[in-house]
C-alpha cells in the first residue's frame, strides 16, 4: 500500500518535472484560458448591434427623416446606404453590402396618423388602412441572429415621431430578469467557458501524456517495472488536477475582474464540482490514451469530444431548445452536466440537493472511465 502510494507519487513528480521543462505546454496551460476568455468574453456577443442597412425613402419628408433617425437611435442598425429605388437596394443586399432594406412608402404621413399605437385611429373606423404598418423591412434572413434583431424592431415605439408622449399600451407581461439583469453575455459565457476549456485541456493533456510515453519508447521500460496500471493512471492524472484548478482560477478570477462576473455561490461548492468535472475529463483522456496509438490520434479524438461539448452542452445554445436526439447526446457529455452545475453555483447559488443528479452522473462517469482505462491498459506490447 505504502509502496503503491510511493509509486503514484513518483509518477506525479516525474510528470511535473517534465511539464516544468516543457515550456510550450506550460505556456499553453496559461495561454489557453487567457486567450479564450478574451475571445469569448469580448468578441462573442449575442446582442446584435450596428447591422449595416439601407433606406429607400419614397416619402422624402421631414417625417421620414425623423423615422430613420429614430430607428438609427436604437443602435440595432446603421444606415450605411441610401437608394432611390428598390432595385439598386436589392443589388446591394445581394452583394452583402447591407443586411436589410427599410422601405418608406410615399403615404408615410397618412399611415402614421392612422397607426394604432399612436392612438389617432378612430375606434369605429373600418378603414382598411387602419393598423397598417408604416414602413417595410426587406431582410437578408440567412443569419437568424441578424433577422431576429430586425424582427425585434417590429414593435418599436413611434411616439418620438410626433414628439408626443406615448399613449403606450400596457404590456401583456412584465419581465424581470434575474441573475443577469443587464443581459451581458459574459455573465453566461464565462462560467460555461470553464467547462469548455477544462474539456479541451484536460482531455488533451492526459491522453497525450500517456501516448507520448508509448511514442518515445518509455512505455516498454515502464511496463517491465512492478508498477500497476491503476498506479500509472492515477499518477498521470493527479498533476493535471492541479493544472485544471489553476486554469479555473485564471478564468473565474479574470472573469470577475474584467467582465464583472459575480460568483454568487459558495467557493467550496464551486471547488467540489470543478474537481469532479476535472476528474471526469481526465478519466476520459485516459480512456482515449488507451485507444490512440500516437499523439495525432489522441488529438483527433479530443476534438471529437470537444466539438459536441461546445455545441451541445448548453454553452452556446440553450439545452432546452435542442432536438431530442441532440439532448440525448448532450446528456452523455460530462460538459453538459458541468455546465448546469457551474452556472447553477456561480450565477444562482443553487442548493446542493438540486445538483445531485449531475454530481452523481459525473462521479459515475469518472469511476467508469478510470476503471475502463486501467482495464484496457495492458502491461504488454501485444
Amino acid at each position: 500500500m505504502i509502496t503503491s502510494l510511493y509509486r503514484i507519487q513518483a509518477i506525479c513528480f516525474k510528470e511535473l518535472m517534465q511539464l516544468k521543462r516543457d515550456k510550450m505546454t506550460f505556456a499553453m496551460v496559461i495561454m489557453i484560458p487567457l486567450v479564450q476568455l478574451v475571445l469569448f468574453g469580448y468578441a462573442i456577443n449575442t446582442n446584435v448591434r450596428h447591422i449595416p442597412v439601407a433606406v429607400v425613402d419614397h416619402s422624402q419628408s421631414a417625417l421620414s427623416r425623423v423615422l430613420v433617425q429614430t430607428v438609427a437611435a436604437t443602435q440595432v442598425v446603421t444606415f450605411s446606404h441610401h437608394f432611390d429605388d428598390i432595385k439598386s437596394a436589392q443589388e446591394a443586399l445581394e452583394q452583402a453590402q447591407i443586411r436589410a432594406i427599410l422601405i418608406i412608402p410615399q403615404d408615410l404621413s397618412q399611415r402614421v396618423v392612422r397607426h394604432a399605437s399612436l392612438g389617432f385611429a378612430l375606434p369605429d373606423s373600418s378603414d382598411e388602412q387602419t393598423g397598417r404598418p408604416i414602413a417595410q423591412w426587406l431582410v437578408d434572413g440567412s443569419d437568424t441572429m441578424v433577422a431576429g434583431a430586425i424582427k425585434g424592431l417590429r414593435n418599436m415605439p413611434l411616439a418620438e415621431l410626433l414628439s408626443k408622449p406615448a399613449n403606450r399600451s400596457t404590456p401583456t407581461f412584465e419581465v424581470t430578469l434575474f441573475y443577469n439583469p443587464e443581459q451581458r453575455s459574459a455573465v453566461n459565457i464565462v462560467p460555461g467557458l470553464v467547462g469548455i476549456i477544462l474539456t479541451m485541456t484536460m482531455i488533451m493533456f492526459t491522453s497525450a501524456a500517456i501516448v507520448r510515453e508509448r511514442e518515445h519508447g518509455n512505455m516498454e521500460m515502464l511496463i517491465t517495472t512492478p508498477i500497476r496500471s491503476i498506479e500509472l493512471m492515477l499518477g498521470k492524472i493527479i498533476p493535471y488536477i492541479f493544472i485544471g484548478l489553476l486554469q479555473v482560477a485564471i478564468i473565474l478570477g479574470l472573469g470577475y475582474l474584467v467582465f464583472n462576473v459575480p460568483i454568487n455561490g459558495g467557493l467550496w461548492a464551486l471547488f467540489c464540482i470543478t474537481l469532479l468535472f476535472i476528474a471526469a475529463s481526465l478519466a476520459l483522456g485516459l480512456v482515449i490514451s488507451t485507444i490512440a496509438t500516437n499523439q495525432l490520434q489522441s488529438m483527433q479524438m479530443t476534438i471529437f469530444v470537444l466539438l459536441p461539448s461546445i455545441l451541445l452542452s448548453g454553452f452556446m445554445f440553450p439545452y432546452e431548445g435542442m432536438p431530442e436526439i441532440a439532448q440525448y447526446i448532450a446528456e452523455a457529455l460530462p460538459a453538459t452536466h458541468f455546465m448546469r452545475l457551474v452556472r447553477g453555483v456561480i450565477l444562482r447559488d443553487v442548493c446542493f440537493t438540486d445538483m445531485l443528479p449531475d454530481v452523481y452522473w459525473l462521479s459515475a462517469f469518472t469511476f467508469a472511465g478510470i476503471l475502463l482505462a486501467s482495464f484496457r491498459f495492458k502491461k504488454t506490447l501485444d
Binding site: T3, Y6, R7, Q9, A10, F13, K14, M17, Q18, R21, D22, H216, G217, N218, M219, E220, M221, L222, I223, T224, T225, P226, I227, K379, T380, L381, D382
Partner: protein, 312 residues
C-alpha cells in the same frame, strides 16, 4: 514443462514461437540458459532478437511454446518476474527531459527503494558507471555511450538476478564498448545472469554461450569455442595475385560456402564434405602460389556457415 528442471538453468524455452500475421518472427526456439553466465543472441537485424527477449521478459505473449524464467512460468507469472529482472531496451527508454539523477530517482521509487538506501545506491551507480559529473545533465543531451551507461545503471538499480540487454552497444564507439563489457563481466561475477543480443561478432565471442539466430530460427548454439570447433566447413586462406578473379571462380563451385578478400588474402570457406580442401582448391583452380593454408575458424566463419544456406 518439467517442474523439477535443472536448478542452474535460469531460462528455459521449448518450441517458442511468435507470429506477426504471416511472419514467423520466432520459430520453434529452444533455449537452455545457465545461471550466472553471459548468454548472447547473435543475428542480423530483423532476425527476431528483440521479439525473443520481449517474450522472455513477459512483454509479448508467445503464439505457442513454453517459457520458464527464474522458475516462473511466463506469461502468467510476468508480474512476479518484474522485481527480479532488469531490462535494457534496444531504444533508449528513460526520459530525455529528466536529468541523470532524476531518472535514477524515478526508477528507484518505482522499485520501492527510498530514503537513505536510495541515495546510497544511486551514488554507487553514478560512480560505477562514471556518471558523477553528469548527474545534473538532461539524459537527452548526452552521448550514446553515456546514455547507455545510464540505461545500464537504471536496469541494475534494484540488483536484479537476471539482466536482459537488447543490442546495448549499437550506438557506442569501440572503446566504450570494451568498457561496457568489462562492466558486464563485473556484474556477472557479482552473481547476475545476463542475456545480451548483438550483431557484432567480437561481442558475441565474449559471451559464455550464444545462439545464432536467422529469420527467427536458431541455427546453432553453444560456447564460441564449441561453435568454432564444430564448424561445418574448412577455412582456407590464399595469398596470391588476381584475387578478384579467383574469388569469382571459387564462388561458382557448390562446395565453396563463401570467399571474402582480406587485404592481400582470400579467405575461403569450404564445406566439410570436402576431405582435403587444399587439394580441392588446387584441382579446381589454376592457383600459382604456395601460400595456401588451413586456418583456425573465427566466429564470423561459423556465423556465415550457419546462416549461409539461405544465400545459395
Amino acid at each position: 514443462m518439467n517442474r523439477d528442471s535443472a536448478p542452474d538453468l535460469i531460462i528455459q524455452a521449448k518450441q517458442l514461437s511468435r507470429n506477426f500475421g504471416d511472419l514467423k518472427a520466432i520459430d520453434k526456439l529452444d533455449l537452455n540458459i545457465d545461471k550466472n553466465r553471459i548468454y548472447g543472441f547473435l543475428g542480423p537485424n530483423g532476425c527476431g532478437k528483440t521479439t525473443a527477449i520481449r517474450m522472455l521478459t513477459g512483454l509479448l505473449k508467445p503464439t505457442s511454446g513454453e517459457i520458464r524464467v527464474l522458475g516462473l512460468t511466463l506469461p502468467q507469472d510476468a508480474e512476479k518476474l518484474r522485481l527480479k529482472m532488469g531490462y535494457m531496451t534496444q531504444k533508449f527508454s528513460l526520459y530525455d527531459d529528466l536529468t541523470v539523477k532524476e531518472n535514477l530517482q524515478f526508477i528507484a521509487k518505482i522499485y520501492g527503494i527510498f530514503g537513505a538506501t536510495q541515495n546510497k545506491r544511486i551514488n554507487e551507480l553514478l560512480s560505477t558507471y562514471g556518471l558523477n559529473q553528469k548527474q545534473q545533465q538532461l539524459a537527452g543531451s548526452m552521448s550514446g555511450g553515456q546514455r547507455q551507461r545510464l540505461a545500464l545503471a537504471a536496469a541494475t538499480l534494484h540488483k536484479p538476478e537476471l539482466l536482459f540487454l537488447d543490442e546495448p552497444t549499437s550506438a557506442v564507439d569501440p572503446e566504450n564498448r570494451r568498457d561496457f563489457w568489462e562492466q558486464l563481466f563485473d556484474l556477472c561475477q557479482q552473481g547476475t545472469s545476463i542475456l545480451v543480443s548483438t550483431h557484432y561478432m567480437d561481442e558475441a565471442e565474449r559471451c559464455h554461450k550464444l545462439a545464432i539466430l536467422e529469420d527467427g530460427i536458431k541455427r546453432a548454439d553453444g560456447s564460441p569455442e564449441q561453435l568454432m570447433n564444430n564448424i561445418a566447413a574448412h577455412v582456407v586462406e590464399i595469398e596470391a595475385e588476381g584475387l578478384r578473379h579467383l574469388k569469382q571462380q571459387l564462388i561458382q563451385l557448390p562446395e565453396v560456402v563463401t570467399a571474402a578478400q582480406l587485404g592481400a588474402r582470400l579467405r575461403v570457406l569450404i564445406k566439410s564434405s570436402v576431405t582435403n580442401p587444399i587439394d580441392f582448391l588446387q584441382h579446381h583452380t589454376e592457383i600459382v602460389t604456395n601460400k595456401i593454408s588451413i586456418v583456425r575458424p573465427s566466429l564470423e566463419d561459423v556465423f556465415i556457415t550457419c546462416t549461409g544456406s539461405r544465400r545459395q
